[in-house]
């Protein structure tokens, strides 16, 4: 039940962020500071998710495999600018490091 509530409510708030500026007339433009804050928000939230997932992958603090695999994924993403390559590298690395006992 809470899954459906989360899907429906997330759908509504997401749609509102997309539709309101297209159908409402807004006086002037947003203040520069607000624009800057909104501009940085997605990066911050996604990075926060990454940090939380690396630190505590599965109810237990990381043994180090996730930290090293994340650094590899980061390097591949920065180098190739390709989401898929980076994810494959990260997943393969974490599987190998876990197999090695980290």
């Amino acid at each position: 039940m809470s899954v459906w509530l989360a899907i429906a409510a997330s759908g509504v708030v997401t749609y509102l962020t997309r539709a309101l500026p297209l159908v409402l007339t807004m006086p002037g433009s947003a203040p520069a500071r607000l624009r800057r804050y909104l501009d940085a928000l997605p990066t911050a939230i996604i990075a926060a998710l990454a940090g939380a997932g690396i630190a505590v992958p599965d109810a237990h603090p990381t043994g180090g495999a996730e930290v090293l695999a994340a650094l590899l994924a980061l390097a591949v993403a920065a180098w190739r600018r390709n989401l898929l390559f980076a994810v494959i590298a990260g997943v393969a690395a974490v599987a190998a490091l876990r197999a090695a006992g980290l």
Binding site: S10, L38, P42, I46, A47, I54, P57, G90
Partner: protein
């Protein structure tokens, strides 16, 4: 080239990526315990790549629904800016059509659509076709991943459970444009990690995500 045709010719690598990442989403959602119907409904109703991975991750961790919705709202608040930037071009459309065009607004559709308008075009066909095909690609991928995703056994052994975190790392690494971005990302990751290690799992992401952008103000002298 007409807008309709250009959208397909220029957009196809992004459509392929959407199918592949959609499969990854379907797979991840099923591993997190969502049914096939719930997984597809997420892509049909929410239709926001990063936010959907976030939802699944938070649901898996038992985060209360209000916090999940708040996180999604903060994450998607950027659409307000994109929609505001598109408004001058979309204004010619009827109100119902604007409601439809808003539904398929994504980071990719915004970037490609604005690119078309900046080349001097004024027709909406490019944006409409690109974003609609992207919507189809994402939902086809999701359904494929959801159907075949549950067949993977022992996902930890293959590191499948880490895929979602790797997606977040890669999105940040590819999206960082300047030093302020990198600083915001680093602070957010460290604060969220510390909060989750300290046991504050439910609020870790939303608190770290809402506070870290303030770091950008400290670095405001530097322009992108």
């Amino acid at each position: 080239m007409t807008g309709r045709r250009a959208a397909i010719v220029e957009g196809w690598p992004i459509f392929v990526t959407a199918v592949v990442v959609g499969i990854a989403f379907g797979l991840t959602a099923r591993q997190a315990g969502l049914s096939i119907v719930e997984t597809s409904a997420t892509s049909l109703i929410v239709f926001a790549g990063a936010a959907q991975f976030v939802m699944v991750d938070l649901l898996r961790n038992g985060t209360p629904v209000p916090l999940i919705v708040l996180t999604v709202l903060l994450l998607n608040a950027r659409h307000l800016l994109m929609a505001a930037a598109l408004r001058p071009f979309v204004q010619v459309a009827s109100l119902p059509r604007r409601f439809g065009l808003a539904y398929v607004l994504t980071d990719e559709a915004f970037a490609m659509g604005i690119g078309w308008f900046r080349r001097g075009h004024r027709d909406l066909a490019y944006y409409a076709v690109f974003s609609t095909v992207l919507w189809c690609s994402w939902n086809v991928g999701t359904l494929l991943g959801a159907i075949f995703g549950a067949g993977v056994e022992d996902p930890q052994r293959f590191g499948i459970d880490f895929a979602i975190t790797a997606v977040f790392v890669a999105i940040v690494a590819i999206g960082v444009r300047h030093r302020a971005d990198a600083a915001v990302a680093l602070v957010a990751a460290l604060v969220a990690a510390a909060l989750r290690l300290a046991g504050a799992s439910a609020v870790a992401v939303v608190v770290a995500g809402a506070l870290a952008p303030l770091v950008a103000f400290a670095m405001r002298d530097e322009q992108p």
